[in-house]
């Protein structure tokens, strides 16, 4: 049983699934999607099997090491530690959620959508388990290909330009990383035998100047990926033009590679340089937190808004990583998971809404609370998670990061706290504009588009738009906006509430948000040993607490803010 190369199996399953889907006949979209979901569930089962075997205090485990390219000192080396495990689990949960929740996202070419999604999953899983820098780089770059085709192939008008922008940013970052990876080879060769194994590189004694240059290369690439101010501009354009399902994959899975890389490679290989760069990185992270939140407040496009909230959140994660304390590190790792759950739920809810209304503009929405209570509830819950309401899981991580930031410097903590306030504004104000208030009546609505609300075969409860004329919701019900930009070949505006499929898709996220809000210990148990060993490698020890309450038990959700 233990001889099975679990990690290879883990990412080979979705990759083979992608090939399988690509080979299936194009005829039945439903079959394609079902196969996709089955493959992603199988992957999830493999991941669960890995999690069961995982020994919390075992460090890097389930390792596989084979020589790959001897001339380059490159190994096919996989391994999983606490950080990797959490991100793997997040990925395998989110992919079936996307395939199920964003059922209609890929209707233009379901085969391509499902195949690219599975390919992206497989490559992302490989990224999180690679323990050889070269292998990491290869899969890191390879994830861009499915991502590019997902953005460029599905979504709104202007998506192909957005896809090119996305790809250019990522590839430029990738090339900077390539320079650093090559530099690492030279350093490693100078020290004896060239090797790309993470374990060999961590043991390497890198010259201070060279180390800082190489750190800069790695960090820039990860900052673009994450994204961090000022290299974030691709994010909002991409989330705006891509489908919500694609955005979930991008923001909640792919972007985690950036922060994952900071932890594993920046801190792991360049501990000295990481400490040296801390002030600058902390400032950038704080700017991201505040700037992302401020810009998000001003958005009218709900997808852009959610994209920009992520900029703010990635600021928190980066802040947690670079304040260099176990508290901040654990908070950052936890934040990665929680942000994945919360933002995915928000994108999912927004996707449901946009599909019903045919518009992404908040100014053209309003008053859906009464007609679609479940959707509104989901949106609210996801929004509250985003603003870190106590009792929902992001609160725990945000709390940890902010405490760690105060520990680092009171000013950093103070600025970070404003992020919470701003988050409350952008979430609640967006909720108010979209869900509450009287419904909108737009007289210029195109007559042909009114109330055709074609029932979705898989959605149980269907309430066609015209079914409730004259009621209090007639405004919302009767509205059919000619969408300024086509979202999808969507049926005209309806206000039916969530169907069974949509509820099932959102359920894991909601359960996760609530469960880990009250009981985050499993996550912390997994992440803490990794963070501690990483920070001891960096050579940081936590300052002794001056006040007992500053290291209050993390489960203490009574702690408000």
């Amino acid at each position: 049983m233990t001889d099975l190369p679990w990690l290879t199996v883990l990412f080979a399953v979705p990759l083979l699934g992608a090939v399988l889907v690509a080979l299936l006949p194009r005829s039945s979209a439903t079959v394609l999607k079902q196969v996709g979901i089955a493959v992603s569930l199988l992957t999830a089962a493999v991941a669960v099997a890995i999690a069961v075997q995982y020994d919390v205090d075992g460090g890097m485990q389930l390792t596989e090491t084979h020589t790959w390219i001897e001339a380059f000192g490159v190994h096919y080396a996989l391994g999983i530690d606490g950080l990797g495990l959490l991100l793997v689990l997040l990925t395998v949960v989110l992919v079936p959620v996307v395939l199920l929740g964003a059922w209609h996202d890929g209707d233009e070419d379901p085969r391509a959508f499902v195949a690219w999604t599975l390919a992206l999953e497989g490559l992302s899983l490989a990224v999180f388990t690679a323990t050889d820098v070269f292998l990491f780089y290869v899969v890191f770059e390879a994830t861009l290909i499915p991502a590019y085709f997902l953005i460029g192939g599905f979504g709104r008008v202007g998506r192909s330009a957005a896809a090119v922008k996305f790809l250019m940013f990522q590839l430029v970052g990738g090339l900077v990383l390539l320079a650093a990876v090559i530099g690492l080879y030279v350093v490693s060769a100078d020290a004896g035998t060239p090797s790309y194994l993470l374990s060999d590189l961590m043991a390497l004694d890198i010259d201070t100047t060279a180390g800082r240059w190489l750190f800069a290369g790695f960090f820039i690439a990860f900052a673009i990926k994450a994204p961090l101010f000022p290299v974030h501009t691709w994010l909002a354009d991409t989330t705006e033009k891509a489908t919500p399902g694609t955005s979930i994959l991008l923001v909640c899975v792919l972007d985690k590679i950036g922060t994952f890389g900071m932890l594993r490679f920046c801190l792991g290989i360049f501990p000295e340089a990481s400490e040296w760069a801390t002030p600058l990185v902390v400032v950038l992270a704080l700017v991201s937190i505040v700037y992302g939140a401020l810009v998000a407040i001003g958005q009218d496009d709900v997808l852009r808004l959610i994209g920009l909230t992520s900029l703010s959140h990635f600021g928190f994660i980066t802040l947690g990583i670079f304040v260099m304390s176990t508290l901040g590190g654990s908070g950052a790792v936890l934040y990665m998971v929680n942000h994945g759950l919360g933002t995915a739920a928000l994108f999912l809810a927004a996707g449901y809404l946009i599909r019903r209304r045919g518009t992404t503009l908040i100014s053209e929405m309003g008053g859906y609370e009464r007609t679609m209570p479940m959707l509104a509830g989901l949106f609210l819950l996801a929004g509250l998670a985003t603003l870190s309401l106590p009792g929902l899981s992001p609160f725990v991580s945000e709390f940890l990061v902010i405490v760690a930031a105060f520990d680092y410097h009171w000013l950093a903590g103070a600025v970070a706290v404003t992020g919470i306030v701003l988050a409350a504004i952008y979430v609640l104000w967006a909720y108010q504009r979209i869900m509450t208030g009287p419904g909108r009546v737009d007289v210029e609505a195109a007559p042909g588009a009114t109330g055709s609300g074609a029932p979705d075969a898989l959605d149980g409860s269907v309430t066609p738009g015209r079914a409730t004329p004259g009621s209090a919701t007639s405004g919302a019900g009767g509205v059919a906006l000619a969408p300024p930009v086509a979202v999808a070949p969507a049926p005209a505006a309806t206000t039916r509430d969530l169907g069974v499929r949509e509820v099932v898709a959102a359920a894991p996220l909601v359960v996760g948000l609530v469960l880990f809000g009250f009981w985050p210990m499993p996550l912390l148990d997994v992440s803490n040993p990794t963070v501690e060993s990483l920070l001891s490698h960096v050579g940081v020890t936590d300052d002794p607490p001056e006040v007992d309450s500053s290291t209050a038990p993390v489960g203490d959700i009574e702690e408000g803010h």
Binding site: V138, L171, G183, V186, G192
Partner: protein
């Protein structure tokens, strides 16, 4: 002066002899065989010749003696004029492999409705009655096969030359048939003839530079032999001006052939005007042969005064990468875009060439400059031959449709062909899991190890620019709505399809398991001095 009769090592020179022999027999066939028989005979002869030469190369490679304390393998043949060593046989293998690809593209007849891509009668003026008659009678130039074999022979000799005169002769033998082949396109003949003319004039000019460089270097060293030159360089005979000018002049000749800036001006015009099959052959094989000669010249003859020529190569490499990448962005034609991309690749290859270090500076198992360049040439050849092969398939009523507008939406009409082209472009862009990435990694690494980090920085920047136009092409094929008349993919015969298939498979295989070929390049060892 006593005359010594040279001993000829026939067995070790077999590939050269076979190829030249086939070429000469091909000329005889043209003279005596009846017209309908010529094509099958030529095709059989050439392909048998290439296969036999390849088999001989493999046989030679497996039996090379180890010399110079295991650092190199091989022997000095034909009285010191030809050196059959590890790098030589590796390059021979590459040239023969891609020449076989070129030959298959030459032989393709289904695309033009039963005719080859070459002019029916080259002597008939474009637009005249004679041309129409040649066309209606279905005339075909079968001389292209012997011409190509002569070129291949020159390409085999070029990187194997042990002295400068042989190198010059090889340069001419490989160039002259190419000038001619460029002018033989069936369609757009004026463009093709213009390309041939330009190529010939500039090529002749650069050959003169090379010859002058040979003379000056002889003046410095008192010998044409590369090893004697190396000895003279080491002993520093004083006249270093002669040597430096000589190096400069020789470089002009070679850099012209590889298409490095500022001697690149011919590349786009010739690549565009020449029949695409010739372009594919030329782009891959000429570059391989010329880089082989360049490496041998700089590593063997001028290895001792690296510090003199490395700065020059730094400048040329930087300029070449930037010119290739930036100008490719402005192109509106697929063939021209590929031509500029090939210029950029020349720059990347030069980055590898200038990464040469003394063996003592290298760690055990560290990749060497030679190994990196040899590997890059292999990746480049696969991608280029297959890419131009695909260009021959995309046609409209006027023949090959190379302008961008015609390619719009190709990915929806022919997903397989467009997908293959996209993969090749991704490889040229250096995306991981394709051959191009490993090649780029290798050449950048050796340059970085040699301390050429400014060149690597520019190379990274140039790669970023290059990615833009490769991705733009992919976007054009997959995500752009076609407007107006568009091209479609014509189903080729087995010849072209197998070339494309091999190129695509090679690109993928070298990207995922580059180990064997890298080991082969490492096994080639150093140049025999």
């Amino acid at each position: 002066m006593e005359f010594v009769k040279p001993t000829i090592e026939y067995a070790e020179l077999a590939p050269l002899l076979i190829v030249f022999g086939v070429a000469v027999v091909g000329v005889v066939v043209e003279a005596f065989a009846p017209r309908p028989l010529r094509r099958p005979i030529q095709l059989t002869l050439s392909s048998a010749g290439l296969v036999a030469a390849f088999a001989a190369t493999v046989w030679i490679a497996s039996g090379l003696d180890v010399v110079a304390d295991g650092a190199a393998r091989g022997l000095v043949a034909a009285g010191g004029t030809i050196i059959v060593d590890g790098p030589t046989v590796f390059l021979w293998g590459l040239v023969l492999l891609f020449a076989a690809g070129g030959l298959m593209l030459f032989a393709e007849r289904r695309l033009e409705g039963g005719l080859s891509a070459f002019a029916g009668q080259a002597a008939a003026l474009p637009g005249t009655e004679a041309e129409r008659r040649a066309s209606s009678e279905g005339l075909d130039h079968t001389e292209v096969y012997p011409l190509m074999m002569f070129a291949v022979g020159g390409m085999l000799l070029f990187p194997a030359s042990g002295d400068l005169l042989t190198m010059f002769i090889a340069l001419e033998v490989l160039s002259l048939p190419l000038y001619l082949l460029c002018g033989l396109a069936r369609r757009r003949r004026l463009l093709s003839q213009e390309a041939a003319m330009k190529y010939f004039l500039l090529g002749a000019f650069s050959s003169a530079f090379f010859l002058y460089g040979v003379a000056l270097t002889y003046g410095f060293a008192g010998s044409m032999q590369l090893e004697r030159i190396a000895e003279a360089v080491r002993n520093d005979g004083g006249n270093s001006e002669l040597l430096l000018i000589g190096i400069g002049m020789l470089s002009v000749g070679l850099l012209f052939k590889v298409g490095a800036a500022p001697f690149h001006a011919w590349t786009p015009d010739v690549y565009q005007g020449a029949p695409t099959a010739v372009t594919a052959f030329m782009a891959a094989c000429t570059k391989i042969a010329a880089f082989g000669a360049l490496l041998r010249l700089f590593h063997v003859a001028f290895g001792a005064n690296r510090w003199d020529w490395q700065p020059m190569l730094w400048a040329v490499a930087i300029l070449t990468m930037l010119v290739g990448a930036v100008l490719a962005v402005a192109q509106r034609d697929v063939k021209r875009m590929l031509a500029y991309s090939s210029i950029a690749h020349t720059g990347f290859l030069l980055t590898g060439v200038l990464g040469v270090q003394a063996t003592s500076d290298l760690a055990v198992g560290e990749i060497t400059s030679l190994q990196a360049v040899l590997f890059y040439l292999a990746t480049y050849g696969f991608a280029m031959v297959a890419a131009f092969g695909i260009v021959t398939l995309v046609r409209d009523a006027g023949g090959e449709a190379t302008s961008f507008e015609r390619w719009a939406g190709l990915g929806r009409r022919s997903p397989l062909v467009a997908g293959a082209f996209a993969l090749l472009l991704l490889s040229m862009a250096g995306i991981p899991l394709t051959a191009g990435f490993v090649g780029k990694w290798a050449v950048f690494t050796v340059a970085m190890s040699a301390g050429a980090w400014p060149v690597v920085a520019v190379a990274i920047a140039a790669s970023a620019i290059a990615i833009f136009f490769y991705v733009r092409q992919i976007r054009l094929m997959f995500f752009t709505e076609p407007q107006g008349e568009v091209a479609s993919v014509v189903t080729p015969s087995l010849f072209t399809s197998s070339v494309i298939a091999v190129g695509v498979v090679g690109t993928l295989a070298l990207g995922i398991v580059p180990g064997p070929v890298l080991d082969l390049a490492a096994h080639a060892g150093q140049f025999l001095r």
